[in-house]
């Protein structure tokens, strides 16, 4: 056996024993981002295509669209940042109840002009998007007349329009910014593109901890299950779980292998199955949900210890520690 083959032998064996998937910016765009955006576009189009006013059919299609949004909602960069789209799609948290107030006002006025797509796109972000639809599909008072259903259809159309625009802008140009960093890109270097994606992973984890968990948890003595995300439709825990699954997919597409990160995700996903965020006024449930916050902190630490150095990127020198 030749010397080079001797050296190659063990290396090959190692490679075969532990196949290392390719992972980096390009894989993240191809395997995580674009498929997720396509799902969001397709599910919102399906919702918008419903002509009936039957709440059941609309609720199911709305649920599928929300599932798809949670799969990409952490990707706060590029087209979703333009024109206030991220807020217009998902206006939550809403501590002052602006959404309900403004929805009530729209229903009271019942202005048909608002239903026109151009005017709907200019309505307050608080009445639009997934949460605007949730209030109409699970009304606190029995709806009367044709207007609530027409408004539902108009908001669904507006949501589908935004999803399609985001999807199209990603494919037409923004993906290219990430894939081809340089002087004409939003990202000057590959490191900056990696940093942008790593940042979405970290801020996505923090949103789950601080908002999806932190808002209903409040404090042990004063929990607020009613403040959970999408509590009216009963999606709060599902959103948390789907988001963590999506963030694990993002982590996997950014770098491989990531055993510590995988273990941390395994732990939080196992524990999330034991939690119901609508029940956090029960002290036992509160404690179980509180453990998820620690589990998410552990995921964040694993990501920063394992993925960040591998990418040669952090979350931003100034962003990390302000003054």
């Amino acid at each position: 056996m030749k010397r080079s083959a001797l050296l190659l032998g063990p290396l090959l064996a190692l490679t075969l024993a532990a196949p290392v998937a390719r992972a980096d910016v390009a894989e993240t765009v191809e395997d995580h981002i674009l498929p997720g955006l396509a799902r969001f576009t397709a599910t919102t189009a399906t919702l918008a295509a419903i002509d009936s006013c039957e709440p059941e059919a609309l609720q199911v299609a709305w649920g599928a669209a929300f599932d798809a949004w949670v799969g990409v909602g952490h990707l706060r960069l590029g087209p979703v940042e333009e024109e206030g789209r991220v807020l217009a799609i998902a206006f939550w948290p809403d501590p002052k109840g602006m959404g309900q107030k403004q929805t009530n006002a729209l229903l009271a006025k019942a202005d048909p002009a608002v239903l026109e797509p151009a005017l709907m796109a200019e309505q307050s972000v608080a009445v639009r998007g997934l949460f605007g639809l949730e209030r109409l599909l699970w009304p606190t008072e029995t709806a009367t007349g044709d207007y609530p259903c027409a408004l539902t259809h108009a908001i669904a159309d507006d949501l589908a329009r935004m999803a399609a625009e985001i999807d199209a802008e990603w494919r037409a140009s923004f993906a290219d910014h990430l894939l081809n960093p340089g002087p004409s890109s939003r990202y000057l270097t590959l490191t900056e593109a990696r940093q942008a994606l790593l940042t979405t992973l970290i801020t996505g984890l923090e949103f789950n901890k601080d908002a999806r968990l932190g808002r209903p948890l409040g404090s042990f003595d004063k929990p607020h299950p009613e403040r959970a995300e999408a509590a009216t439709s009963g999606r709060s825990t599902r959103n948390l779980e789907l988001s963590l699954v999506a963030l694990r997919s993002l982590a996997r597409s950014l770098h491989q292998p990531i055993p510590r990160t995988e273990a941390a995700f395994d732990r939080v996903l196992a524990n999330v199955a034991k939690v119901d965020l609508s029940q956090v006024d029960d002290p036992t449930m509160w404690l179980k949900a509180d453990i998820l916050r620690q589990d998410i902190t552990a995921v964040r630490e694993a990501v920063m210890a394992e993925i960040a150095p591998a990418l040669g990127a952090g979350v931003g020198f100034n962003a990390a520690d302000g003054d």
Binding site: E83, G84, D94, K96, V125, A196, D210, G316, N318, G322
Partner: protein, 356 residues
């Protein structure tokens, strides 16, 4: 003053003719940075973003201030600060090192008197975070006094134009003397205090009650005697209040942004600058990866994106913006364009050397 720096200054004075800012290569800006190997430095930058000099700092820097006539800069440590370096930018060396007295901490900013004879340093009483301005003689670099800032946790301080009066941004946040932990978020009460050169309180501007958790932190002076202040919201992160306010004669007016722009900055403005040529104000948010531009009346104009953008200072046709990825960008009519990049992480502030 230390013996060595005393000798250095005597030597400089006797051997060399009076040096000016031109002898320092006429830097347009000063900026602190972390270098690739993890050390810290203060750079003098040209308008185009070339580094004209880089002097080592003993720890992470924050802001700096330039002497009005001599090519001297004082670079301040990040709070809680234990040092401020007086740097001769022409000789490329440290000429004095200021240390706060026992029980005081530097808070990252300072400013010179109009004639440059005095330096004012933003400080806290370490135990309570009560604000103080340290007063230093710039011939001997001896501390000659201090006065109250009439608030808690002062941060930026600027001397008002055509005046010896000082405007202090009392951020309102009490912090643990050892680790920056915030201690009084529920009860904080920031203000902008206008002080006479002797420390007398001339006016005190407070935010309305519902914005009491909006820490008033960084200042930019406008051409007409007003000032703009950039804030950091410490209240409910879902609320997204305005992060820019205009100060005029002791009154504050907050400048809201359109609904779609509300959360762009992630409730955090890290730096602020005013560009006289375009009559525009820019605030930066490294957390949001964005720069927002307003007109001089505080009306929102545009958002520009750049990850970890924080340092901002006026340029001839707009602004220069620095970020944690080492880029130096121009921001003007053509939007935000990275112009050059160094292998450093630019820290919070870019200081324009707009000497009279």
């Amino acid at each position: 003053m230390q013996r060595r720096s005393f000798l250095a200054s005597v030597l400089a004075a006797s051997v060399l003719p009076q040096l000016s800012w031109a002898d320092a290569g006429d830097p347009a800006y000063l900026a602190a940075a972390q270098t690739a190997d993890g050390a810290f430095a203060l750079h003098g930058l040209s308008l185009a973003g070339e580094s004209l000099f880089a002097l080592p700092l003993p720890a992470r820097g924050h802001a700096a201030t330039a002497h009005p006539t001599r090519p001297l800069a004082v670079a301040f440590a990040r709070r809680p600060g234990t040092f401020a370096l007086v740097i001769d930018c022409a000789l490329g060396q440290e000429t004095a090192r200021l240390t706060p007295p026992a029980g005081r901490q530097f808070n990252g900013h300072g400013t010179f008197s109009a004639d440059g004879a005095r330096l004012y340093t933003s400080e806290v009483v370490a135990e309570t975070s009560e604000g103080r301005l340290g007063i230093w003689d710039t011939a001997s670099w001896q501390r000659i006094g201090e006065c109250a800032t009439h608030g808690v946790g002062p941060h930026d301080v600027k001397r008002l134009p055509l005046s010896e009066d000082l405007l202090v941004a009392n951020g309102g946040i009490q912090t643990d003397p050892t680790d920056r932990t915030k201690l009084n978020i529920a009860t904080m009460r920031p203000n902008l205090a206008r002080l006479g050169p002797d420390g007398a309180l001339i006016s005190l501007a407070e935010a309305p009650e519902d914005l009491a958790q909006n820490s008033l932190r960084h200042l930019a002076l406008l051409s007409d005697g007003r000032a703009a202040v950039a804030t950091q919201w410490e209240g409910d992160p879902a609320e997204a209040p305005p992060l820019l306010a205009l100060w005029e004669d002791g009154r504050l007016t907050f400048c809201p942004v359109p609904e779609a722009e509300m959360l762009v900055m992630q409730n955090y403005a890290g730096s602020i600058a005013y560009c006289p040529a375009r009559a525009e104000i820019a605030i930066t948010s490294p957390k949001g990866g964005a720069v927002q531009v307003f007109d001089a009346a505080g009306r929102f104009r545009a958002t520009h994106r750049r990850a970890d953008a924080c340092g901002v200072a006026p340029a001839p046709a707009g602004f220069t913006v620095t970020d944690g990825n080492g880029a130096i960008s121009t921001l003007g009519a053509a939007g935000l364009q990275p112009a050059t990049r160094l292998d450093v992480k630019w820290d919070n502030h870019l200081i324009a050397l707009d000497r009279a």
